[in-house]
Assembly symmetry: C2
Homo-oligomer: 468 residues x 2
């Protein structure tokens, strides 16, 4: 069987469909081919220099994949798998799980088929973490602590709390049966701890940043423990890598999508909405939200000029958000691109029964399927947006499975890297979050951050007249 390819349909982005005022002239695509060629060469060079780690993930070694699979085999008698991580160390895990496992997986053992429940507490909310630890049978719980630097305050705090809770139940000597560490190979505090505690450790390649790491052990381990076929996932990514290895904008969906977003951004369409018409990809839109925002939201360009650039990603969900956001998309400012994700074949077909045939306003539904309804709603919303001259496009998945999700992930990652070059910014750093982080370190008393604490403490006093 030929593996099924995902498609990008950009018809409704163009001036000849949605009008000159808001649409993009088709010529511009070819006009940018030279630029695309240059960026393509730059990406190849950067890759050769070892800077584009995410591009190497589809072809990770058989040794690593087997190691992960063996780990799953080896760990018997567990019920729960808890990911301790935040941002790029959490979002991908959640997205893979909701995309590729059955809804209500955690609630129903039939759906798990012997695999582990997955929990990603993610946040450092005390109510949430305590609630989770109270609910789990810790003797049957395996944690994967994920932080590349080994010093992420949120992750290490959660780890310390979980470690204490587990130690109380299983004893200090059995901790290694309950913790895996996923971190940098060469440095970092988590590595030191993992060695001391004899935790099984997986490594995040140095050149793979958090938001590009879902196809590394960061995302693969929890996926494998939840029964997701990680080999197919990587094959899907490899298939997209192959398709997207051309510089030709008319053939490379990652490049074309990046360019269209860039051109639209320059016309004031600064909000990028991702709107899957399947509940399963809801969290994929959230994962993309980090990828796009943190990569492209930058103060300085590569020439050190202040540009304060960056599209704002927004996640949306069809058909649900037709009853929440669609009014704004249809009638509000012309400041958005809507990217639908359409699924051609769902895993289930659900018929709407014919009941109340005498009641108009209900009787027309019977005999159709829920599949028809959601697919029609997508097409109807697409048409209505197009009639209103609103930029929109569709990513079409033949079905939701490991292979198509692998394709989608790789496409969006490469698209982000390419968009970074178009915006002439560094898509792989995040200097803007340092200040807030450093204040936190300062206040909590981390060594070397005394100055930050001082600065924090000298902040302007609030005027109580404006706290009402």
């Amino acid at each position: 069987m030929k593996e099924k390819e995902i498609k990008l349909d950009v018809n409704n982005m163009f001036a000849d469909v949605i009008g000159k005022e808001h649409g993009i002239p088709k010529d511009e695509i070819d006009d940018y081919q030279d630029t695309a060629n240059k960026i393509h060469e730059k990406i190849k060079k950067d890759r050769a220099k070892g800077k584009m780690g995410f591009m190497e993930l589809p072809a990770q070694s058989e040794e690593l994949i087997s190691e992960i699979e063996e780990e799953v085999e080896k760990r018997e008698g567990y019920e729960n798998f808890v990911v301790i991580g935040i941002g790029g160390s959490a979002l991908g895990n959640i997205a893979l799980q909701t995309a590729l496992n059955k809804p209500y997986y955690n609630l129903d053992s039939k759906k798990r088929n012997g695999n582990l429940k997955l929990f990603v507490p993610d946040n450092v909310d005390p109510v949430r973490l305590k609630s989770l630890l109270d609910s789990l049978d810790l003797e049957k719980t395996l944690f994967n602590v994920i932080t590349k630097s080994g010093s992420t305050a949120e992750t290490m705090s959660q780890f310390l709390i979980a470690r204490e809770a587990v130690a109380k139940v299983v004893g200090e000597d059995n901790l290694s049966e309950h913790f895996i560490a996923t971190t940098s190979k060469d440095s970092g505090y988590l590595k030191i701890i993992a060695e001391r505690e004899n935790f099984k450790t997986f490594y995040i390649p140095e050149s793979v940043g958090g938001r590009f790491s879902v196809l590394s052990p960061v995302g693969l381990i929890s996926a494998a423990f939840c029964g997701i076929n990680i080999r197919e996932l990587l094959k899907g990514a490899a298939a997209m890598a192959e398709r997207a290895s051309t510089a030709n904008l008319r053939e490379n969906p990652a490049y074309l999508n990046a360019l269209l977003h860039y051109l639209a951004y320059n016309q004031g369409k600064t909000i990028s909405v991702m709107m899957p018409y399947t509940h399963q990809l809801k969290d994929m839109a959230d994962w993309y939200r980090q990828l796009w925002a943190e990569s492209l939201g930058k103060e300085l360009n590569r020439d050190k000029e202040v540009v304060n650039v960056g599209p704002t990603p927004a996640k949306s969900l069809g058909a649900t958000d037709q009853h929440s956001q669609a009014q704004l998309y249809m009638e509000g400012p012309y400041d958005k691109i809507i990217t639908f994700i359409e699924v051609e074949n769902f895993d289930e077909e659900v018929e709407i029964p014919k009941i109340y045939e005498d009641i108009e306003g209900v009787n027309y539904l019977g005999g159709h399927s829920l599949n028809e309804l959601i697919q029609t709603e997508k097409k109807a919303t697409e048409l209505a947006l197009t009639k209103r001259n609103r930029l929109n496009q569709s990513i079409i998945l033949p079905e939701v499975n490991e292979h198509t999700i692998g394709q989608l992930i790789y496409m969006l990652e490469l698209q982000t890297a390419f968009a970074g070059e178009l915006f002439n910014i560094n898509a792989f750093n995040q200097p803007g979050v340092e200040l807030g982080k450093n204040y936190t370190y300062g206040v909590l008393g981390r060594k070397g951050y005394g100055e930050m604490k001082k600065e924090y403490n000298t902040r302007a006093k609030k005027d109580n007249n404006w706290i009402i």
Copy 2:
């Protein structure tokens, strides 16, 4: 005990704190007092005419509240409560549940304390709905079907499917033990069905639109079945209604917040981010997203001029999204207002234990609490944004409970109504979603929508060269 008031801290919205280029001059608040007085009078008049239904909800009749409570008492032996609704008939139910019940409530009977599990499938995704119905013991499941019009295609489809599944298990004669209807008192198809099937029925006041309906039976019934104190919730809303009954912008948080958003919008700050620093309010931000977008996103103003106005709401979550969106907020375009929600006292205090005291980069965490960490992160992010001259403000909840959530909901609803007047648009309609809806009706063959089907079918053919 004096009930605890929520507060709105707007210090960091002003020019004297974040600079003239982006900040709002304080004078402008007083300059707008006359406008505020006029809007205040208009709202009062509209209310007197019966147009402002949401304002009557805090003082709903004792009769109704008792009826809901008795319904909960009467229904014995159930395990699950399923809300069948979409948009305003779903989001509020979800938001109340996550805000006011313990995290992982559905997964752990200890947390439910005898109350029912809550499910809000919301979407018309066939995989999701089938998965839910397969997982539930339908003999022990009670559904609340919510649609004011009684003709919402998504809701009625889900109902038909659920009805068939339940009938198979309990028989056609026992359906009324498993379905409640919440709909219009005077008309609509659901009312007809409910009468025929002898379903217990609750009514949505005519003057309360979906997105303003969470404090009506729409949100109260599922809340009551999940053990939430709906009397306290309404008392909280009433307390805010009382506080917000003044036209004085310096005293009325709903009006002040609306005005600040309006002024900021006119300066190009068109994205309104709500960022609670507690996981429990994550879905409240989603509920707000509908309220704000659907109310204010409008093509025409009240004078029928084309304005295509409307701020774009975005939900965010602290501390999680510091690792996802903060980079963009700090360095990207100056197009956002960030509204933090801060919680002063969490229901739990979680200590970070002192372990690995010799390991720098981790050892400073021990002895602090997770509460300190998340609260410090909020304040650190606030300070960093302020230093970067980014508009931000905070809604401060003394704690998360029914009373404070009631206050918050009412404040945001009134704020939305007031903002509608500032923008000179009708905040209570949603004409922009009709077209897409009507295409769907047409395609599915609803009587009277034949023309829409024709129009749908004559849509431009896609150019396959641009589907890659």
